[in-house]
């Protein structure tokens, strides 16, 4: 598959059609999933209606993590096979992942308010998501700080890979920390086994988020490739101008 996307031109041709298709798929899945999530699915016996926030919070958490893993793979390909497209893919996924991580934190806080009575609860998973969010910020800050695009791509790839290796360690240490300082038994966010009637809207919403994220990522990759072409052409123009 990687070789199919090998050269940017074929990628541009393919993504020209894939981007709108994915966007349409996302819209369709949202149309299908939202009524279930908001109306037809049953309220939680403890939390009542607020469990509906789960259909936004959980997909955001999944894809914030999923995108970082995908960035890790793209970074590996970029470092080992020096693929131009892999750099562009990792760079295009980062903002989407960062926004999803932020969305996950905010919806977690909104969900926690009625459930726990506070805007922010240092729950193990929310804390790990906060660390992941700062990792995204660091990744984007590194890209912004380095002028030479090629060097920035490789350095960011190293940072992303080391971050990926550390995710399980950070996750383990935060869980260990949470159990160490375990406050009174607190209702875990969505901890109870998910009622099957809730599962289908959750999966549909997750699919909708996935298509939306993929479409936005492809859009980002297209603009990054156009940007490189534009800057290179302008550079050549400036140099050859009499």
């Amino acid at each position: 598959m990687i070789t199919v996307f090998a050269n940017p031109d074929r990628f541009m041709a393919l993504s020209r059609y894939l981007t709108p298709i994915l966007a349409a798929a996302a819209a369709a899945l949202f149309a299908w999933g939202l009524p279930q999530a908001l109306v037809t699915s049953p309220p939680d016996y403890q939390m009542g209606e607020t469990v509906r926030i789960m259909y936004v919070h959980v997909p955001a958490a999944w894809w914030a993590l999923g995108l970082y893993a995908a960035m890790g793979m793209a970074s590996f390909v970029s470092l080992v096979w020096r693929h131009v497209l892999a750099d562009v893919a990792a760079r295009a996924m980062a903002p989407v992942g960062a926004v999803l991580a932020a969305l996950c934190l905010i919806t977690g806080s909104l969900w926690g308010r009625p459930t726990w009575g506070t805007w922010w609860e240092w729950d193990a998973r929310l804390t790990s998501m906060l660390v992941l969010f700062i990792t995204y910020i660091g990744y984007l800050a590194l890209w912004a700080a380095i002028e030479d695009a090629q060097r920035a791509a490789r350095l960011a790839a190293i940072l992303c890979l080391v971050g990926l290796i550390n995710l399980p360690i950070i996750r383990f240490s935060v869980d260990w920390w949470y159990t160490l300082h375990q406050p009174a038994s607190v209702l875990r966010l969505g901890g109870s086994a998910i009622d099957p009637a809730m599962l289908s809207p959750l999966l549909i919403m997750a699919g909708a988020f996935a298509c939306a994220a993929a479409s936005i990522t492809l859009l980002g990759m297209r603009s990054l490739i156009h940007r490189r072409q534009a800057l290179a052409a302008e550079l050549r123009l400036a140099r050859s101008a009499p």
Binding site: A145, L161, I165, S173, W176
Partner: protein, 223 residues
């Protein structure tokens, strides 16, 4: 090869100490931050005893962050990084040697000062050596992963803030285990149990991962 690594180590320790007062600035910063706690929270003993050990770790992490910026930036600017690349030793070990030099020149003194400062934070005197030892291990972990941050931001003007935001997520595990170990020590529990072992494991892992990743980044900086 060992001679080459020892030469990098000795030169960096000499440079760390020679630069005007040597370790005085980071140590001063460290003590200053520790001082802020009682000023902010009032002299109430129980409060300070609870917040003391963890603060030692937060202040230690911040002080190490301050020393990371000049670690590779100076070498990149005056082209002595090229010498490390051409040396009779792999760049990974040269990075490790630079980290070890920073640890000896600044990490250990900070751990010592941390142990002494823990006395002022109402922790029982018996706990001080254990806290100092924990800090020494933690500093090694912070510096090792800090090598990567310093290497990534070596080419960036005023890269200090960038290094901080790059490296802080990786500081989470050592802070968690280190502060827990310090709290356990000040609570009088058995010194080298649970948290301390996890701290050691995490810092050993960073001591291996940091130099390798930093060397990869340095090769890119020199490209």
């Amino acid at each position: 090869m060992i001679r080459a690594l020892m030469s990098v180590y000795r030169r960096d320790v000499a440079l760390a100490w020679a630069g005007g007062g040597g370790a005085a600035a980071p140590l001063g910063f460290y003590v200053g931050v520790v001082l802020l706690l009682p000023l902010a929270m009032g002299p109430e003993r129980a409060l300070i005893a609870a917040a003391g050990p963890p603060l030692l770790w937060v202040a230690g992490a911040l002080s190490v962050l301050m020393t990371l910026e000049r670690l590779f930036q100076a070498d990149l600017e005056d082209a002595s990084l090229d010498q490390l690349l051409l040396a009779a030793a792999p760049l990974e070990l040269a990075a490790f040697a630079k980290g070890a030099a920073l640890w000896t020149a600044l990490g250990l003194p900070m751990a010592l000062v941390g142990g002494i400062a823990s006395l002022t934070l109402q922790t029982p005197p018996a706990a001080a050596p254990i806290i100092a030892l924990g800090l020494a291990v933690g500093m090694a972990g912070f510096i090792s992963i800090g090598l990567l941050g310093a290497a990534l931001a070596a080419g960036v003007r005023r890269g200090g803030v960038l290094i901080a935001v790059l490296v802080l997520p990786f500081f989470a595990p050592p802070i968690i285990f280190g502060a827990a170990a310090a709290a356990a020590a000040s609570a009088g529990e058995a010194p080298f149990e649970g948290a301390f072992q996890l701290l050691g494991a995490c810092c050993l892992f960073y001591a291996a991962l940091g130099p390798i990743a930093a060397a990869a980044a340095l090769r890119l900086q020199a490209d």
